[in-house]
């Protein structure tokens, strides 16, 4: 994501990233980032909540129009996620583990078996 923003900005476009992990905007040096404390897959908010989505977009547009260099500029959208944290901490995950997670777990299980002297 940050690679995209930096490339677009260098090519003469003004960019703002809305990101649930704004730390990456700072660490990768993206020009403008609006942090949102929303779960993965829900960058602009809750399905069907047009008012919340619009507030996030307007905050991002404000950063786009008014942020001053040098970057990285990081703003924070200060509304909390409206849903239950304990539910959403799990609910954003894919329904089955992603290929890399599956692969890493298989590797860990294999190492555990080997260290127990099993095949």
């Amino acid at each position: 994501m940050n690679a995209l923003a930096r490339t677009f900005e260098a090519e003469g476009l003004s960019t703002v990233i809305v990101n649930m992990m704004p730390v990456w905007g700072e660490r990768f040096g993206s020009p403008r980032t609006l942090g949102v404390e929303f779960p993965f897959g829900h960058t602009l908010g809750v399905p069907g909540d047009a008012a919340l989505q619009t507030r996030v977009i307007r905050a991002a547009l404000d950063l786009l129009a008014t942020a001053q260099p040098p970057g990285p500029v990081v703003g924070h959208f200060d509304e909390p996620w409206p849903g239950d944290f304990d539910h959403w901490k799990k609910a954003w995950h894919p329904k089955q583990p992603s290929p890399v997670i599956k692969f890493m777990r298989e590797q860990a299980e294999k190492r555990a078996r080997e260290s127990r002297g099993q095949a």
């Binding site: 994501m1 490339t7 677009f8 476009l13 960058t43 977009i57 547009l61 786009l64 894919p94």
Partner: protein, 166 residues
């Protein structure tokens, strides 16, 4: 109050990400918005891995299953008149149900057209884009696909871009 970037991650992933070595950057590119917002053309670029059903093939999620350290670096084009029923999801690292319910949570074409009608922005770009965010290696993005999309956005007279990872 700063956003906690690690709020939604299990402790193992938090440790992994916090320890990740990021190469230092030389400088941060900067292009000021060339026009007042009310006159600007804004494009949307998401990494939600979505495509227009039937118009272009989905991202190559099958290949990612075979090669877990690879993610499809290509992009798909999303028109400003995109309708919910045309949106095809498939990202392997998130639950896609809420994007299936309301694409505006990651590609807010409806919200942007409302802002256009209200005069907050000049207009939403004709062409918007989806990449797919699982990219252990961003070389193809940086060297091929992002410059290609940048050129298309310049052709469409885009002034600003809202980017939405998932």
């Amino acid at each position: 109050m700063p956003v906690d970037s690690y709020k939604w991650l299990p402790p193992s992933l938090k440790g992994f990400f916090a320890a990740m070595q990021i190469p230092p950057y030389d400088s941060v590119p900067w292009t000021p918005l060339a026009k007042p917002l009310a006159e600007a053309t804004i494009a949307l670029v998401t990494t939600a891995g979505i495509n227009v059903r039937g118009a272009e093939p989905p991202f190559d999620y099958d290949r990612e299953w075979e090669h877990p350290m690879w993610g499809d670096p290509t992009y798909r084009t999303l028109p400003r008149d995109l309708r919910q029923e045309q949106v095809q999801t498939g990202h392997l690292h998130i639950n896609n149900d809420d994007i299936d319910a309301d694409m505006n949570v990651c590609l807010p074409v409806d919200r942007m057209k409302e802002l256009e009608a209200a005069g907050v922005i000049g207009r939403l770009a004709d062409r918007n884009y989806s990449f797919m965010g699982y990219q252990p290696d961003t070389t193809e993005w940086r060297e091929r696909y992002a410059p290609e999309v940048a050129a298309k956005m310049r052709d469409d007279r885009v002034d600003g871009v809202i980017l939405t990872p998932v």
